[in-house]
Symmetry: D2
């Protein structure tokens, strides 16, 4: 479970009956349609020529918490049914764990009781449930005027130097099978993925997310800082190995005089001239767009012979090439990153709201 007021749990396994999400604490009166959910789920599915040949239909059902098209304030359970899937060679991976997959840690942690088929709870498939929860979160955020967009900014050596605005990202959407806000870079990224795929290999990538319209004041120091809470949630997406805000790791080489975000007035509102802070200072939103980047590792499934251990015999052995796979998981993640960011912001905007009217009570 994640969140304090807007709380999201995720359940299910890759090859079990279903996956799904339970949202507790969502306020009543949020309009929810199945179309909204279906649309976001479809963004997560691989588009040709990218991606795996397994195309889940994502047949979902709202089991509770929505009545007459609106959230009720009660727990919302959205289930996404799995189709019957051939368990394949997963028995093998239980015994001989795939490098950089969770097969080994899962077996040890869960003492062999884990549902190892398709990676079980570690499968990327569970991110469909994140996306479903994110739809509700983003609807709630809309009430406060907050909007989120994510797109791919790097695949291998191809990266987008220009920082795009929320509008630029949104306008580009749908124009390419890869969600990168720059059409030229999108084509280059597809080429890289294609060449990697032909070699039976995989490649990493970076996704950038932006949230606009936030009021000043989200985030709770000392420990529940907004950046920390967002980072934690992003690491729940399989394959994430790093998160940075604003200028991020570049700040190691920057001087204060360059990095500092000086203030100015814009339409009577305090804004910063630059946004190297990525919209968060001291763990609190400063009203500027939140800007963050997430790095995804290459898909660990590759068509190569790899060294591993037969855990039953405790002997070294080799895993032969695995079959079909996504050459670049990053390409499917922009809607997931948006969802996860939305879930955290929804929680924090409610936490922020809890203090809001107090101001007007001060005269009492």
């Amino acid at each position: 479970m994640i969140g304090k007021l807007f709380c999201v749990s995720v359940y299910g396994e890759s090859h079990g009956k279903c996956i799904g999400t339970l949202i507790e604490g969502c306020p009543p009166g949020i309009k929810v349609s199945e179309e909204d959910i279906a649309k976001e789920l479809s963004r997560r599915r691989p588009k040709p020529p990218l991606g795996t040949s397994r195309v889940e239909p994502d047949k979902f059902e709202i089991l509770s918490g929505v009545f007459n098209g609106y959230t009720t304030g009660a727990p919302i359970n959205i289930v996404i049914w799995n189709k019957d899937i051939d368990p394949g060679d997963y028995e093998l991976f239980k015994r001989v764990p795939r490098p950089s997959h969770a097969d080994y840690v899962a077996r040890v942690k869960y003492r062999g009781y884990n549902d190892y088929r398709g990676g079980g709870i570690f499968s990327g498939r569970l991110t469909a449930a994140y996306v479903a929860a994110g739809v509700i979160a983003k609807k709630l955020l809309e009430r406060f005027g907050v909007k989120i967009a994510a797109h791919i900014v790097q695949i291998g050596d191809v990266y987008l130097e220009k920082e795009l605005s929320y509008n630029e990202i949104m306008e580009s959407r749908g124009s390419s099978p890869i969600e990168c806000g720059d059409g030229v870079k999108a084509k280059d990224m597809i080429k890289v993925i294609d060449s990697v795929k032909k070699k039976g290999d995989s490649i990493g990538g970076v996704v950038e997310a932006i949230a606009i319209g936030l009021p000043v004041g989200l985030g709770e120091p000392i420990f529940d800082r907004l950046d920390g809470e967002i980072a934690k949630a992003l690491f729940a997406i399989p394959g994430v190995k790093g998160v940075e805000f604003g200028a991020g790791f570049k700040l190691a080489c920057m001087w204060g005089s360059e990095a500092n975000d000086q203030y100015t007035l814009q339409d009577g509102k305090v804004v910063t001239i630059t946004n190297n802070s990525g919209g968060i200072v001291g763990g609190i939103s400063n009203g500027m767009p939140i800007k963050l980047r997430v790095v995804f590792k290459p898909t660990p499934s590759i068509a190569y012979r790899q060294k591993s251990i037969d855990l039953d015999k405790m002997e070294e052995t080799y895993l032969e090439a695995v079959g079909r796979f996504d050459p670049c998981i990053a390409t499917r993640t922009p809607p997931i990153v948006e969802a996860v960011l939305g879930i955290v912001l929804a929680d924090h905007i409610l936490r922020w709201n809890a203090w809001r009217e107090l101001e007007s009570l001060e005269g009492k």
Copy 2:
């Protein structure tokens, strides 16, 4: 408050009576000495020629939870008293916020009621309390054979390419005023800081941390993954703008065949040949050393004229150069990073321990 079983809160303000930490859920029987705490606190203090001229003495007191030299199982409160400090120009910063400091967000979020002197709760001073809590956490971890070390791997353009082991880092400790495991690089870093300081400017940096001796299985998917929990906690250190594990952001350019950590046996134990995962796969520790890097932004206090807003008049104005400051906050942070990492690992090793004996109950 952070943590589920080993829970740490931090309180106090830079220029108030004190700062401190409250630890709830620490098991009884952990030996705690004032020397241990004093020693770690002293690591946090700036060493000449680096650092600010303000040298806090860090007079601390264990107020509760320790009896006859051992933790009792009750809440542990460690207070660090502040010395009387001239409030200086902080009234000004309340009205005219310093760029990339928390002055502005604090004023808005707390509606002007915040203790703005010295940055209040946003001051780096509070990290002394993290360090104190970390001493207890690290003592608990020792029981399980877990050890932590952090050092600086980058300041500006100077960076350490070689990855050092826990032992290499520990052996270098004390040999330089800057905690970098490589003596040559340490000297180069000091030069960079010195040149920046002369210009009245500041610079960022990167700290690397290693934790060794962890069992397989720490971390709780879906959301309380070990990497996510660690990342969240690290963002509680002022100035952190990014966190990465293992090969981190480099993974964007890596191929799966290069990035995957293949398995082998070492003394009958399953290990990985490489450690691009940084000891965590699927959010769960895999028994390899945890390796992470944290980027710190340049100190926002600089001796430059900067643009800001007079918030009382809502007019643009300028802030003149501020006085003394740390040219590179990163240099003081290795003990803080260690402490924060220790706090999270202490919590997760207890959570891991909660399932441990169940195995032996299986026969029942």
Copy 3:
């Protein structure tokens, strides 16, 4: 959500698609069979001549977290499907709230968006989900040798003065449609209920629960005391208006010399001669049986004309007699009380276990 390590959420509405429970943090390797769940669910259903004419079939499904008959360590979702039920007059109750039902508070709190049919989330129907979660909890407790039994000790003026042991309660089970450990009293209780029913009225009752086999040390002062945690959970059962441990409210009239539980040795084990503390002292289990009593109010649905408000017109009005109903909800609650007690104990035995092996690490 309730619990820190063994975490239980409940979702669903009386007249929606389903109700259900999500359990997060259950350790792997707990044997779970559908028979166990079915059996407990059937205990919750009204037995003739008691109870409502609505007999839910409780068709349930384990959606996740159980694999090959054992818990996997992943979130366990158990759904109980609702049958198609005529929504009846619930539109009326939304407008004219039933006295001592949640109709009014639900409408205000959820601003009219709540699913009001059949009481929505406030329906006693949701306790079937508590029971399902309780089955898993009790299975986990069995590993530690802990067992739970509850039975009815009072209906109206009929009450059982004698305190029964765990074995006595269990032996009586199934011998009467009302789960009271004393056969004679059970008959008297049925008579009381029958006479109340004939008048179209309802009556309250008291359930007593016992847990045996607990080790010393469950419960976490200051605030997460075992009795407090249990009490909180019990109030989640609709109709509960009071909880007491050991001698409970009788202690107001007792003298210390009578109330104190003096110690003695039994088979080399420290026990108390009396158990006025109900197995909990200072919020911590003392190894004696936990004894508690819960009072249930009379079913608020009665065949009487009652005063209420037309909330749309904000006018006083009357509600005529409602139809079928349980004359005494208490009769159905022993399995629910057991389940809820089990859920809390499961959480606390894991929390207790988290500190356990530390002892053996002390030599290090």
Copy 4:
């Protein structure tokens, strides 16, 4: 720690340096004066002719979170220093536990590392910290128009049948050394305590608390119901063995037609004619006064020889009469019950507030 948004921790030991409280999440702008705290703390101290001869001066200090007389939004630490106290015979009680005290469970749970002097963390002394936290909570509640009063309604056989209103309780305050709203009963209670005291014995009691001015809608089903949350917190007061709301345990004998709270209009507001629900239905406040009763056991310290165990030798033995003690701890608890109730209501009014403005955002 207790609470989700208004979070209270308590630390310290009876005979250590201090006790105290840490409040996290308190909104800024709440006026806090040392006089308010001192006044409430003095209510907790025994008044002649009642009570122990140990009169703590309760020298307290606000260490953080209050600036210029107002809360800042940062963690508030209030420490209450202990005076030097002779450790007395506590070594004995560590070895030979006092019946119905926490000596035995503390020794086992904390493996002998606990600070056993004066009961350590189990001492009633810690409730002074609850009271201090309660002062802040009650100040916050005042903003919302919520007020709390508690008084003693039963000592031994003397009990107050008449239910007093908030105003009646407050008007009586200070008129007797025992906080009972009825002057005649107060005298009778003092007589009972006096006679018990002469015999070296102790006696139990019941405290009733009322909260008025609450809006409809506090409390979060399924599990964080308002009554459950309040009950849990009340069990954190040493000596509490039962909690009931409204008609409480009397409901076991009541019929629905008598127990149901029918609705009427009063000054255009929906109210109930009776208040057998104690202001909470379905776990949610219904706008009527919250009414609850808490039973306190007799002080376990008595001037009698009692059977116990020498835990070092594991032999049965006897404890001789202990010295000075409170013959009736209940008499000191009304301010503590108020504080604890206030802490929970403060948390829930913020949780309630988190959803409030959403209504006005609906047009968007």
